[in-house]
């Protein structure tokens, strides 16, 4: 045995030492694995601390260690730390192996004896594996300075502006005709009640005019190839039927368009738009899109009113969808959320009982530029309500629908209550499970509402019905709810019910996630790299998430995440290049018989076949290191650095303690 191996067992305070007898593990390794090359085995309070690292560095220098095994936490946490320690001591960082006895032992097991035994096996596995490690150099690839931001809501806008202002190019892709997202639909924002449009519009305009931002609205990303620093994205620019070169956004076309269409997107079905339209007056960009599905010309072959009246001749019925290819270094996903479909809870009567509204409908209803000009009225469009019930947690905190808390509904409902109160003087009943106001100025807002005389009823609403039992109830919506504070069932007759519907992942979140190589949690929100320490990065290098895509959150949090994601992207751009794990497959030409078994296996097309030499070869730039071809090669001609057969089989030996057995058979 030529290698000199050092084994370091971490206490992690009591995190490991509380369950695993770390001293014993170290002692055991020093004795039993001595003949496998272990020259030193230590245990230490915190291996990851600078002192702990120095311990390793010292041994490397003084004992001339050629391999290092650290038994501590998950490699996903501290692999880099200990690799650096080796590097500092002049040992190739890849000659270090970090095995997890915290996540995989002390945190998940309770029996100390068994846990200690398992830790020994894991250490022994690490030792056997590390013997087969080879010195490696990380691959360095240049980073393309441009960034793709998907989604033009407030989170995306923030991210785009941060990067663009820093002087780097941004492509912003938005599915709808205008950026602005849900925030553009709101009238007021809690808790300050400043007007949503007033604070959002300037930012939208900045995006529209920014020299460093290429704005692609009415467009979708259809394909993404490549890897961090070098992504190639394909974007479908849907046909606008408007020549943006010529269009001035004067608006004559949509004035003249004879076709009225119910606007399910921006007006949440409450208002109408034309067949050629911009969703709202402050839309960015200002040029409209022509909705072919509803345009009289496309349906009947006649009309062309817009074309006739357009002063600049910008209307172009022949426009087709275009596909653009762009190169970017990194990607920020801020694709936002969908509203929970309240029809899934028929007991609340939406769609059946006219005056039951969704939260988004109410946002439009209360919006000065909305269909009623900000007048809060019943469906008939005229009658102001004398009493309004606001149902919290619709579809949220309910195992039949979404178990999670949508986090904004409480504040939103309070805002609604305030607006109703302010504009109609109606009696307002807020039916809640718990009131959650955990942010700056939120609790104060709640107090304010209490003082305004809004009724708060603690209980989950059972049903909303029109089945009156008393003359008072006649013609009203009756909200059946148990008031858990007085322990009584209550029937509250009201004129209007607002369902504070929860936030849901976009209906196509999963597909979009796959497109960008990131995965969704069970709830459907995108998974961050670390829930606390890395909330905007994802498991896929170079792809970040911002805003509600990562989980329900309010505007300030979305903005913060947008900025955070931008900062992460900028950080990488500044580095100019990324170091990539040198985990790659290589084919031994002499062994390769050119059977072409591996050729179809690579999703990144990294394997090419040389007809002339009749051998296959791996392109290291494209190889992502999954090792599928390594496992598949019938001749064993392909080897995978970092995860070679030798390494894994050796680790198996160690885990099963066969190494010890063998040693016992042959005397020293």
């Amino acid at each position: 045995m030529t290698e000199k191996i050092g084994v370091y067992v971490c206490h992690c305070g009591t995190n490991i030492a509380g369950i695993v007898d770390v001293e014993d593990v170290a002692k055991w390794a020093a004795e039993k694995l001595q003949r496998r090359g272990v020259v030193i085995a230590r245990d230490y309070k915190f291996m990851c601390s600078s002192l702990g690292q120095e311990l390793i560095e010292k041994d490397i220098k003084e004992l001339g260690l050629t391999r290092v095994v650290v038994a501590a936490c998950s490699p996903h946490l501290h692999e880099k730390t200990f690799r650096n320690a080796c590097k500092n001591a002049g040992l190739n960082p890849y000659l270090c192996e970090l095995v997890s006895i915290r996540e995989q032992v002390s945190w998940v097991h309770t029996d100390k004896v068994v846990a200690t035994e398992k830790s020994k096996a894991i250490v022994s596995g690490g030792v056997e594996r590390v013997i087969w490690h080879e010195p490696l150099e990380p691959l360095r690839v240049p980073i393309h300075p441009a960034t793709l931001v998907v989604g033009g809501g407030i989170a995306g806008i923030q991210a785009a502006l941060e990067i663009a202002d820093a002087g780097y190019h941004v492509y912003m892709v938005e599915r709808e005709p205008s950026i602005g997202g849900h925030m553009a639909q709101f009238d007021k924002t809690f808790p300050t009640l400043d007007c949503s449009a007033c604070i959002l519009t300037p930012k939208m305009v900045d995006v529209g005019n920014h020299p460093n931002i290429t704005l692609l609205t009415w467009a979708e990303v259809t394909n993404v190839d490549g890897y961090v620093g070098n992504f190639q994205a394909t974007i479908r620019q849907k046909a606008r039927c408007v020549n943006t070169e010529l269009c001035t956004g004067c608006g004559i076309c949509w004035e003249k368009c004879p076709k009225k269409v119910i606007d399910d997107v921006f007006e949440a079905g409450l208002g109408k738009r034309k067949a050629i339209y911009t969703p709202f007056p402050q839309a960015v960009p200002r040029y409209p899109v022509l909705d072919k599905a509803n345009c009289t010309y496309f349906l009947k072959g006649t009309c062309k009113a817009c074309e006739k009246f357009c002063p600049t001749g910008a209307i172009d019925f022949t426009q087709q969808d275009e596909f653009l290819q762009i190169d970017v270094g990194q990607i920020i996903l801020a694709t936002g959320w969908d509203l929970f479909d309240v029809r899934r809870m028929p007991q609340y009567g939406y769609g059946r009982l006219a005056n039951v509204f969704t939260s988004l409908e109410f946002e439009r209803l209360s919006n000065a530029s909305g269909p009623t000009g900000g007048k809060i009225v019943l469906r008939d469009g005229v009658t102001p309500p004398a009493s309004v019930a606001i149902v919290h947690c619709v579809g949220s905190r309910d195992k039949n629908y979404n178990p999670y808390c949508s986090s904004i509904c409480c504040m939103q409902s309070l805002k609604f209550a305030h607006l109703v109160h302010e504009r109609t003087g109606a009696e307002v009943y807020n039916c809640y499970i718990d009131i959650r106001t955990p942010s700056k100025g939120y609790e104060e807002f709640y107090q304010r509402l209490l003082e305004e005389g809004t009724h708060f009823i603690r209980g989950k609403v059972a049903e909303v019905t029109n089945a009156y039992r008393t003359p008072e109830e006649e013609g009203k919506l009756i909200v059946q709810v148990e008031d858990t504070l007085i322990g009584k069932q209550r029937r509250i007759p009201v004129d209007m019910v607002i369902l504070s519907a929860g936030l849901e992942p976009r209906h196509d979140a999963k597909e979009v996630g796959r497109l960008f190589g990131i995965s969704c949690s069970a709830d459907g929100w995108y998974i961050e790299r670390h829930p606390k320490l890395d909330p905007v990065a994802t498991m896929t290098d170079g792809v970040y998430i911002a805003g509600v895509v990562q989980g329900p959150k309010d505007i300030p949090a979305s903005v913060a995440q947008g900025a955070a994601a931008a900062a992460r992207a900028l950080g990488k751009i500044q580095q100019k290049e990324v170091a990539m794990e040198p985990i790659r497959a290589t084919i031994n030409e002499d062994k390769c018989s050119g059977c072409r078994m591996c050729n179809t296996l690579c999703p990144f097309n990294a394997i090419l076949f040389h007809e002339d030499k009749m051998v296959s070869e791996v392109n290291p730039a494209l190889c992502q290191g999954c090792g599928t071809c390594v496992a598949a090669c019938p001749a064993g001609a392909i080897s995978g650095t970092g995860f070679s057969n030798e390494q894994i089989l050796a680790q198996l030996d160690g885990l099963l303690l066969l190494n010890i057995k063998r040693l016992e058979e042959i005397p020293a």
């Binding site: 490699p75 998940v108 097991h109 995965s519 069970a522 999703p603 990144f604 599928t628 303690l657 057995k661």
Partner: protein
């Protein structure tokens, strides 16, 4: 290993688990971070992808004394490497078939898809599998040391001849 020294003690199987770096290993990490408890009989090996799973590893594990082997990866469609977990699936199916001919029960090998978010699920499944293997009893493949020699007792008359030189 699997030897039952004390018959009153329940048999403690040794199980090798192969995890993929992106989903199932992170599920295991999550189980840890959330302090979920599962039975200590399983020892994990990290691969970059379930597609790296070479049947040799599984055979080696059994030959080396493991009583059960669990192969885990990302859910179909969620593979970090697009679709490599399907290759694992294909290998698993034929491997299982082959192992049965070797008398290794289908219940000793399991393929599990677990996403990075499914720490709890991972925990449950590990526990289930450990119990399943426990119920099947020790495998103790002779090549794992001990037992093999016993198979080849050379009879007396042969040994006698040996020393006639």
């Amino acid at each position: 290993m699997s030897e039952q020294t004390d018959i009153n003690k329940p048999f403690e199987p040794v199980i090798i688990g192969f995890t993929c770096n992106w989903c199932s290993y992170r599920a295991a990490d999550m189980a840890g971070t959330a302090r979920m408890k599962y039975s200590p009989n399983i020892r994990l090996i990290r691969l970059m992808c379930s597609g790296r799973l070479d049947p040799t590893f599984v055979l080696k594990a059994f030959a080396g004394g493991a009583d059960g082997v669990m192969i885990t990866g990302c859910h179909p469609g969620d593979c970090h490497y697009v679709e490599q977990n399907y290759k694992a699936l294909r290998r698993f199916i034929i491997l299982k078939k082959t192992l049965q001919q070797f008398g290794i029960e289908a219940g000793r090998i399991k393929l599990l898809w677990a996403s990075a978010a499914e720490g709890a699920f991972f925990t449950e499944e590990v526990n289930k599998f450990v119990e399943q293997v426990r119920a099947l009893g020790p495998l103790q493949w002779p090549t794992s040391g001990g037992g093999l020699e016993k198979m080849f007792a050379v009879p007396e008359h042969m040994l006698v001849k040996e020393v006639t030189v």
